[in-house]
Symmetry: C2
Subunit: 369 residues, 2 copies
């Protein structure tokens, strides 16, 4: 919690006096408790939170967050019904994305009869090639559809390029945000030409938000991982985002082959192991109770203070290196990608210098619903 809070203080300092707000993304921690902890520190620098699924929205509503922005399209009758219920239950405003006129019509129908207005942002594809309208006139055309709809308020333009977050070199990352800003400018010009006011331009993640902040175009930024950090973000060449790692998975050593076995048997067996790479020779591996069901491996293996981690399957990790650990000892694994790692777990164990101060549910956990 000390590190988590320090990261929030750092973000606050990076935005103070810039006029650009922080809207931290809850997809990273998926916890109403941690969202409230962030907002308490960020204070006036925060405009609210982002979330990525209806379940995350429901958790943020339950946590009493005033301004919640679901940075995704909400498609299909089940999700639309839950969105409507969350809107009605929310203490403040709720926003969602659209990139198609059919979604606007479906949202209009979903909120019909509600006493609340739904905020709608047009998603502009500023280079990620995933969702979003083209910049410029297509975005303004869609915004006009929102303006004309009952029960919806056009709130602004969502201009986020996720793939840039992990471009390693600062200069290259910054230059590519320049390309993103071209799309923002074209969109703002088209909106102005159409006579549509745009209160909010939102985007930017932990890897790029200082450049969106300094663009003169964005009114808020959406970093999520900054509070936890992970191996993939720490591999960026950061001059300007001094966040620290606050997230670890604690694993227990469950098996410890003897040294002679490690040296002799394992070396002899290497040729027998399908897909085996590397060498056991001279290593003293130990096995921990954390595999692919405890630490997300899609972005690479977790790191640890001493030794290196290999997957041992769904429930096992094999650690090469540390010679002085015994069964029952613990190691801390630092994941490569915090979001999907957090998503595997049901509880946050929040500690301060090793003293647990809260165990809270990962209440927004779940598979894209």
């Amino acid at each position: 919690m000390d590190v988590f809070e320090r990261n929030c203080e750092t973000l606050k300092a990076m935005l103070a006096d810039t006029g650009v707000k922080a809207r931290p993304h809850a997809k990273a921690h998926k916890s109403g408790y941690l969202a409230r902890a962030q907002l308490a520190i960020l204070g006036d620098v925060a405009s609210g939170v982002c979330c990525q699924t209806v379940r995350e929205l429901e958790a943020m509503v339950a946590a009493g967050v005033d301004d919640i922005f679901l940075t995704n399209q909400v498609v299909g009758p089940d999700k639309l019904r839950r969105l409507r219920a969350a809107l009605d239950a929310a203490p403040g405003v709720v926003g969602v994305l659209v990139d198609d006129a059919a979604q606007v019509a479906a949202l209009e129908q979903a909120v019909a009869g509600s006493s609340k207005t739904l905020d709608v942002y047009v998603e502009v594809d500023v280079g990620q090639n995933r969702c979003g309208t083209r910049p410029g006139a297509p975005a303004a055309d869609l915004a006009a559809t929102v303006v004309a709809a009952d029960g919806l308020r056009f709130r602004g333009a969502h201009c986020y390029h996720g793939l840039l977050q992990h471009v390693r070199k600062t200069d290259e990352r910054k230059a590519k945000v320049g390309g993103v800003c071209d799309g923002v400018r074209a969109t703002l010009a088209a909106l102005e030409a159409a006579g549509i006011g745009c209160d909010v331009v939102t985007g930017g993640g932990t890897g790029t938000f200082p450049y969106e902040r300094d663009s003169g175009l964005y009114t808020e930024v959406q970093p999520g991982s900054f509070c936890l950090m992970d191996g993939d973000y720490l591999a960026n060449d950061y001059d300007d985002a001094p966040f620290e790692r606050s997230l670890a998975v604690r694993a227990t050593v469950v098996s410890r082959p003897t040294a002679d076995r490690a040296v002799v048997d394992r070396a002899a067996k290497e040729s027998e192991i399908p897909n085996f790479k590397g060498s056991y020779l001279g290593r003293f591996p130990l096995v921990v109770d954390a595999g692919s069901k405890a630490v997300d491996l899609v972005s690479g293996a977790p790191t640890l203070a001493v030794g290196s981690f290999r997957s041992g399957g769904d429930e096992h990790g094999i650690i090469d290196g540390p010679g002085d650990l015994a069964c029952g000892d613990h190691v801390e694994l630092f994941p490569s990608h915090c979001d999907p790692c957090v998503n595997l777990h049901d509880y946050w164990v929040c500690h301060r210098g090793g003293v647990v101060e809260a165990v809270v549910p990962v209440d927004a956990r779940g598979p894209g619903l």
Copy 2:
């Protein structure tokens, strides 16, 4: 459910009249409901179920399974306390693995005062190089420790080689099980020399169990994925295990760029995308609401009936190919590895020909606890 049940019938037929029992592994489906469904079909061919974590054990106890074998070491005071509680609550027998004398002492202490006896199996490393004693005398020495302990019953030898399950060629897979059997024979000889009876020799997974079945050494086999099947298992060259795919993740199309955008803009932008491989030219991608938090990607992308899947991040999948789908339409994604995919989800939607007959919790879900 039709396919799931057919897979169970197939397994039953493959073991009937062989004297070798099935102990299906619950780590695949992580559901007490589905464990009971399997046992109802397998009948006398089943010796019980396997599970891999204490949480899975607790779910199998809650489901009333008579004979539950946790194929893992249970290390640390928290897990040992929960193991003891599960043993006391279980309707029948509970077993666990050991590969170290210190674990035997810890188990003896954990069950002290219980009215129940804990079954203990010695894990023998038959080539996987993960956990396990060496075959032969070291396994027998550890079994003697179990025999001497109060409250524990030495039940048998666990001889499982997980890495062989996905050796693609049948002949090669079969030949490697021959090497596994050498370790089993050495262990049985050492146990006999020590005067220790060995009731059970257990191992084998969906990829190899017909060879363990035919070895004359194994008394039971432990396939888990057979009831669901996945891309990694279906990539095996199977002559002898005709299981079918019963598991799919249903995703919804949430965004559908227009054809002109797909052809023109995307082709122009390829050079801008970090790590981009392939070409958008001539493709008409669509985006679904299933990314790495809905379908495990460690063993590769899921497949689908028409088109191909690329990750679009944690909550998005990008599908290239099908030209006739619109927002709100559904696609079925077939995962590459069923166990970690199931582990991402909270509920099984059990249907028969599209008609839902049960929605049951993935009650054993969780991160290695």
